[in-house]
Amino acid sequence: MSYIDFLKEYGHRFLDGTLVTAEQFFLATLLAICIALLAGLMKLSRNRLIRGVAVVYIEFFRGTSLLVQLYWIFFVLPLFGLTFEKFTAGFVAVGMNLGAYGAELVRGGIQSVPKGQWEAAYALSLSPFKRMWRIILPQAFVNMLPPWGNLLIELLKNTALVALISVSDLMFEAKQINGSTFLSAQTFGTALIIYYVLARFVVTPFMRWLERVMRRKLGRA
C-alpha cells in the first residue's frame, strides 16, 4: 500500500482526530488562561491564605505528572462521586496542569510592569481593580505573550495524553489505525507531521500575530 493509498483510506480518520485535538487544545487553552490569571493574581495577594491556596495549587499541578493527574480526574474522582465525561476530563486535566505553569507567567508579567505605572495609576486614584484591569494587566499581557507562545505549544503536545483515557483525538485515531494495519511508520509519521504543522503553522503564527497587534496598540511597532 502506497502512502497515498494509505492517506486515501485513513485520511478522514486522521482528520476527525485532528479536529478533536483542536477542540481539546482550544478548551484546555481557555481553561488554562482563566486558571493562570486567577492563580497568578492570587499569588500576588496581600492575604496569606489566598496566596497559600495559589501556591498549593501551582506546586501540586507542576510537581506531579500530567498523566497521573489525568487518571486521577478520570478514574479516581468518580470514586468520590465526581464523574466527568472522558472528553471533559481530558481538557480539564490539561488545562489545569498548564494553568499552573501559566500562573507563574502571569505573576512574572505583572511584576515586570514598572513601578512607575502602579504609582501613576495610584496617583490618579484609580480603584485597585481598575488599576489592575485597565493599567497593569494590559501591559503585563504584552510582556507575557512570548512565553505564552511556548506554553501553548507545550499544551498542544500534551493533549496527546488524552488518548490514554480514550478521547478520540489524533493520537487515539493513530493508535487505532496502527492496531488494525500495523503500518506504524506511516501512521505515527502522519501524526507527527500533523502535530508539527499545528504547532508550527497555526499556534506560532497566531501568537506572532497577536504580539504584533499588541505592539501596535502600544505604539511600539
Binding site: Q117, A120, Y122, A123, S125, L126, S127, Q139, L218, R220
Partner: protein
Amino acid sequence: MMDEDFSQYPLELTGDDIPMVRFSRVSKRYGALTVLDNLDLDVAAGEMITIIGPSGSGKTTVLRMLMTLETINEGVIYVDGKPLTHMEKCGKLVRADRRYLRQMRAQIGMCFQHFNLFPHMTALENCMEGPVQVLGMKKAAARARSEELLELVGMADKRDQHPARLSGGQQQRVAIARALAMRPKVMLFDEVTSALDPEVIGEVTTVIRNLVDKHNLTMLMVTHQMGFAKDISDRVCFFFDGKIEEQNSPEELFSNPQKERTQQFLSAVKEAG
C-alpha cells in the same frame, strides 16, 4: 500600631486662614534611617513652593507622602483643612483606610520624573482615564476637558499618539495635562525635568510657568534647576537631613542665604553649572 494617639492633632483645621496643605509634625523613617524629622510646613492656597536640597535630604519624600505613596510614621497631613493621612472615627483621628485615602488623594495631582504615561493609551486616552474612571465623567465631557488641557500644554496635535511616539518633553507635557484633568487642588512636580534632554527642558518649564501665571493652583515642586526655581517660586525651602534648614522668598534665599549649609549647597550647585 493600635494604641497610636493622635489626640494632639485637630480633627480639622478651622479659622480664616486655612492653609491648602499643612504638614503637622510629620516624620518618616525607614528602619533606623530618619528621612523626615518632625516636619512642619504650611502651603497657602495658590502658593508655589519649591523644595531644593542635596539628594537624600527627604525632598522627594515630602511629595510622595502628600500623594500618600508613602505612609508616615508620625504626624498628620491636612489638605484644605481636612486630614489626608488620617480620618475621624468616634471623634478621634485614626489612620485613614484605603477608601478614604483614595477619595482624598483625588484632590492631588502628581507629575513624575519618568512621566509614567500609560503606554497602551494615546495622549488623549491618558488624560481621559482619570475623569472617566475615577470622577465618573461622561466620555464626551472628559474628552472635551482633555483636549482643552492638551491644548494648554501645546500637545493638541499629538492627541492620538501613543507615548512611545513622543519625546521626553512631549510625554511630560501630556503627563501634566493628565494630572490637571482631575482638577486637583494641589499639583506636585517631582523632578519633572531631571530625565529630559537639555534642549527640551524649556518646553516643560514653559508649561509650568504658564500654570503659575494664569492659574491659581497650589503647587509643590522638587527641582535641581535653581534658575527656574528662582523665577517662578513664591517660596523656596532648602531641605537638609530631613529638615527644612532654611526657607525664604527665592530672591532672599538665592542671593542672601543665612545658613552655612545653604551657602555650601548653592555654591556647589553653581560650580556644577
